[in-house]
């Protein structure tokens, strides 16, 4: 039983660690802000889930204790990560950050930027 | 580890002090915050470093010194109160005096000073 758990712990930790690392690699490697955002938002969250699961299993290894409160961190991250990302991308739009050249839907980007700032008057119909 | 810890404390102190010597309120606030970190680490270190000995009874048999930890807690809270006050004071000073220089007025440029002394 414990042996299985140990394997599970190792697996989840490695999985988590890898995703965390990949998320951060994405942060460094990606060409523009918008693409950089994806790594941390998703991979890191999943990576955290992995590590937290590892922790849950680890602390549940000893008899009569069941350590599940790491769930709370997972829930919290799941709730907040999209909001952080949302706020960040809104800021990026507001700051008119350049998207990498071959980004499709440049018009949508422009429209989004216009709406973020004061110029995006709401009387101006968004769909042309 | 002690050497590294001391190095960090010293470096944080130096950075904090340098910022506190700047002429605007905001860098001073930042410097003060940095200095507080250094001071807190210093107080903490006065109880000597301990890797496994969180001071909760029954979790270890070699506890860290709890007293400096309690002192740091007090210092953190007081430091927070003081920083908050200073920050707001900085706002007030900017509002009242029209600039954010710590002296409430811009220092005269150097050449002007020289002229005056002539």
């Amino acid at each position: 039983m414990n042996h299985w758990l140990e394997w599970a712990v190792a697996f989840f930790l490695l999985l988590g660690g890898s995703f965390v690392l990949i998320g951060s690699i994405g942060l460094v490697r990606m060409p523009d802000f918008f693409t950089r955002l994806h790594g941390p938002t998703k991979a890191t969250t999943l990576g955290m889930g992995g590590i937290l699961l590892g922790s849950i299993f680890y602390f549940s290894m000893s008899p009569e204790t069941l350590s599940v409160h790491e769930m709370l961190i997972t829930i919290f991250l799941l709730i907040t990560a999209p909001v952080s990302a949302h706020m960040l991308i809104k800021t990026a739009l507001h700051h008119r950050l350049k998207a990498v050249e071959h980004t499709q839907g440049e018009q949508e980007l422009k429209r989004g930027q216009a709406f973020a700032s004061k110029e995006g008057n709401r009387s101006e119909t968004p769909d042309d | 580890m002690e050497t590294l810890f001391a190095l960090c404390i010293g470096f944080l102190t130096a950075c904090g002090v340098f910022l506190m010597l700047r002429g605007r309120t905001f860098p001073v606030v930042v410097g003060l915050t940095m200095l507080s970190y250094a001071v807190n680490l210093f107080i903490f270190a006065s109880g000597r470093l301990n890797l496994k000995g969180a001071v909760v009874l029954g979790t270890s048999d070699n506890y860290a010194d709890p007293l400096p930890q309690a002192l740091v807690l007090t210092a953190i809270v007081i430091g927070f109160a003081m920083t908050a006050f200073l920050v707001i004071l900085a706002i007030r000073a900017r509002a009242d005096l029209g600039n954010d220089h710590v002296d409430g007025s811009m220092p005269a440029p150097r050449h002007a000073k020289r002229e005056r002394t002539k």
Binding site: I25, R29, T41, K42, H86, I89, T103, G105 | -
Partner: protein, 178 residues
């Protein structure tokens, strides 16, 4: 669509349930004392917090909601694998894009869940929901709103829009009956 709670003493039952569970999670115990406290807090806290909550549609189809959650979890895992590959793969080959999706949902809670789901799943991040309604007069009709998303690697815009609308938006409409 219901906006007003069924019981005034238990305005947000699912939230209460969540809190009940969380208290037990936090204390890692099923002792009677903790169950008692969990109950008290699960009722007390939502009751206090109810005033700090804008009226939202209530979950009408809990079963569906559970399914939705599981689906999103599954999507997160698959999506992450894809994103990981993209991140580690050649950067030059990425086809990033901005896409806007017309929204049928109107209320904040479902919209938020939709945007969050989109952010957590296949290579997309919700950028904005516009136009914002905070500048609308109370009696003004709601305009068509859009969800702007950024896609890390887009294949086919129409397909993406369709997937999102069917996979996430539609179930949400169903769950909240709005």
């Amino acid at each position: 669509m219901r906006m007003t709670p069924r019981f005034s003493w238990l305005p947000t039952p699912y939230r209460s349930l969540l809190l009940f569970v969380i208290w037990l999670l936090l204390n890692q115990s099923l002792a009677l004392l903790h169950l008692f406290f969990a109950t008290v807090l699960a009722i007390g806290i939502p009751w206090i917090c109810y005033r700090f909550r804008d009226p939202q549609p209530l979950i009408e189809r809990p079963g569906l909601a559970l399914r939705y959650i599981l689906r999103v979890f599954a999507d997160i895992i698959t999506a992450n694998a894809q994103v990981a590959v993209l991140i580690l793969g050649p950067v030059k080959k990425l086809r990033p894009a901005f896409v806007r999706i017309p929204l049928d949902l109107q209320h904040n809670l479902p919209l938020t869940i939709l945007a969050a789901s989109v952010s957590m799943t296949p290579g997309t991040v919700s950028a904005d929901i516009y136009p914002s309604i905070e500048h609308l007069a109370p009696d003004e009709p709601l305009p068509q709103r859009w969800l702007l998303i950024h896609v890390l690697d887009m294949d086919n815009e129409a397909e993406l829009i369709a997937t999102i609308k069917s996979r996430y938006e539609a179930p949400l409409k169903e769950i909240f009956q709005c």
